[in-house]
């Protein structure tokens, strides 16, 4: 799967996408879901929760491991993906679409600019493979 050029990334494999209303949708990358394997449980952040960038905001659990998901931006959670509680495999099948985790109203737009772009993230993944 090619890395979508309109997304920004953390080194720890989370993605962020700025929506037209200014909110930021977050999720985990295709590489991350592939490394984790089949997901069996996702704990999404509650709506209304205030997050700091880099803070653990969700948990993804696969048949191999449980991992924290870090928020790429600071802000308030305005929506979360309910569907993941019954169908966590959405993250495996569609990590950049139906497998989104939460939507955040950012308090510091400058943070987005500091994230990795798709090309830089691909380099991070390539470096890990060696």
């Amino acid at each position: 799967m090619t890395t979508p050029a309109n997304l920004k990334f953390l080194k720890s494999h989370e993605w962020a996408r700025t929506e037209s209303d200014g909110t930021v949708t977050i999720g985990i990358s295709d590489h991350a879901q592939n490394a984790l394997g089949d997901l069996v449980f996702v704990d999404v952040p509650e709506v209304g929760k205030t997050l700091k960038s880099g803070e653990a905001c969700a948990v993804v659990e696969s048949v191999k491991a449980a991992s924290d998901v870090y928020s790429p931006v600071s802000g308030e959670v305005v929506a979360n993906n309910d569907a993941l509680s019954a169908t966590p495999e959405l993250i495996n099948t569609d990590p950049y679409g139906a497998g989104w985790i939460a939507r955040i109203r950012p308090t510091n737009a400058a943070e987005i600019a500091q994230l990795l772009d798709a090309a830089a993230y691909d380099q991070v993944v390539a470096a890990e493979a060696h």
Partner: protein
């Protein structure tokens, strides 16, 4: 062969009359006796014997198979430990019997405390935690009690390297602390610069496993101890990997303030399948007043329980009596049989076996995760290359090993090594067994090149084939319902 559930063997009215009590119990009041028969399976005595014997034969166990489950130290439990711990004088002793009539039992526990104290280089030992998790809890609770007793209330952060044992962050959280993770360097050592950045007035301490779960010895441990102590924090030693250093290096000498020991690993008491375990804790001078009670004290030539009165600052009781007393006795007998020289042989052969196995697996075409490091008592191979080139995973290797008659190594742990197998042969395996394991690994590697599907669908020879892990995790179904019969 598929073994039916005992409920599926059941036929109404079939009983093993020889197992019935000779008479109705006289001491249970009539109103409290059940009138309806319990919904238990109804089988003959022979059916019950065959069913459970067959089930036991389906097990992979240390008594039947090589069991290189890294980080778990699945070594042989000598039969003598069991025999002696089962002496009627131990078994029939009531926990409330007075100290004066239990001097033999108390003496064994006192000597066990002393031996563990000596072999770890600590100042005091409490045997009361019931298992490793409770030992960890006791250790961090003591660290917190120490800071609080000094009025140093801001120390709530526990530093945990990413190569620490997986339970450490959970323990710190259970004790109300905040976990601060620091990374390891590519060579497996702790990132000292990262450690320096995170220590400070909020540091309660650091939790370490040495050797780490990466299967390598933490070389800069003295420096780590200095940095944490200078910042006012304490050092916690997770005894999970004590088997590598037994009788050679002492955590107390490395600067650790508290240690928990998994007696069921290093000291060869039964483990797996839920215990019973034992998580004895050892402490340095600063934490002596906070040890969990009871501990056994000696005055003159008399032994007695030390309680709240003797240790008023104790973190308290973690079990009603004295941990898993039977397990403690087994560990005591094991240590007495080994003696001081024997304990050194344990770690020497544990590391020799691990390094021999690592060298042979490398020669057979496998990649060590830390190729320039010597193994401790265990080591990691990564199947990243095989995964990329041949499309086979660590899980495929683990499952195929079962067909070859080997319990699989630990898979996908530690998390920071992709497609990893964590392999711990222990000191109790003969060279022939290690060679047979290498032969099996080499055969599976060859098969991965010619017939990778054989690996994907393994195991092929066991009663249960490849499980659907996802469905098993999401739709646990463990209840047999009579209506389905």
């Amino acid at each position: 062969m598929h073994e039916k559930l005992i409920f599926e063997h059941s036929r109404t009215g079939r009983t093993a009359t020889a197992q019935f009590p000779a008479a109705e119990p006289a001491d249970i009041p009539a109103g409290l006796r059940r009138t309806k028969r319990p919904l238990l399976p109804e089988v003959s005595e022979l059916q019950a014997v065959r069913h459970f014997t067959r089930l036991s034969q389906l097990n992979f166990s240390i008594d039947t198979h090589f069991y290189p489950l890294g980080s778990c130290t699945m070594k042989y439990n000598p039969r003598a430990c069991n025999t002696l711990a089962m002496l009627p004088e131990f078994l029939s002793r009531h926990p409330y019997s007075p100290d004066a009539t239990g001097q033999g039992f108390l003496g064994c526990l006192y000597e066990l405390q002393e031996m563990l104290r000596e072999v770890t280089g600590m100042q005091g030992v409490s045997l009361t935690p019931m298992a490793g998790a409770q030992g960890e809890f006791a250790g961090v609770a003591m660290m917190r009690a120490y800071h609080q007793a000094r009025g140093d209330l801001a120390r709530v952060e526990i530093i945990v390297p990413d190569a620490a044992h997986g339970t450490n962050p959970a323990t710190a959280t259970m004790c109300g602390c905040k976990v601060v993770e620091i990374p390891s360097l590519p060579n497996g050592d702790i990132d000292i610069d990262a450690l320096k950045r995170v220590v400070g007035p909020a540091t309660a301490g650091i939790m370490l496993t040495n050797p780490s779960t990466l299967g390598v010895f933490e070389r800069r441990i003295a420096e780590v101890a200095g940095i944490v102590h200078d910042a006012g924090g304490l050092l916690y030693y997770d005894g999970a990997n004590l088997n590598a250093i037994l009788g050679k290096v002492r955590p107390g000498d490395m600067g650790f303030d508290v240690i928990h020991m998994n007696l069921h690993k290093t000291f060869s008491t039964p483990h797996g399948g839920g215990g019973p375990g034992s998580g004895a804790v050892g402490v340095g001078k600063r934490l002596l007043p906070f040890m969990p009670i009871p501990v056994v004290g000696k005055e003159g030539n008399q032994y007695r329980w030390l309680t709240e009165k003797d240790l008023p600052q104790s973190i308290g009781r973690l079990s009603g009596f004295m941990g898993n007393a039977g397990v403690l006795l087994r560990a005591y007998i094991y240590m007495r049989m080994l003696g001081r020289a024997g304990m050194q042989r344990v770690s020497e052969y544990a590391t020799l076996n691990a390094n021999y196995l690592l060298a042979r697996l490398k020669a057979a075409g496998f990649d060590a995760a830390y190729s320039d490091r010597r193994a401790s008592h265990e080591f990691i191979i990564t199947l990243k290359r095989q995964s990329r080139d041949l499309g086979v995973s660590a899980m495929d290797f683990a499952k195929r090993l079962l067909d070859h008659g080997f319990h699989a190594p630990t898979t996908y742990f530690p998390l920071l090594v992709p497609e990893c197998l964590l392999i711990e042969p222990t000191e109790t395996e003969a060279k022939e067994e290690l060679d047979a394991f290498v032969d099996a690994m080499a055969a599976i590697l060859a098969e991965a090149g010619t017939d990778p599907d054989k690996l994907h669908s393994a195991p092929h020879t066991l009663p249960v084939r490849r499980l659907d892990d996802v469905r098993a995790a999401k739709q646990l179904d463990l209840t047999w319902k009579a209506a389905q019969a």
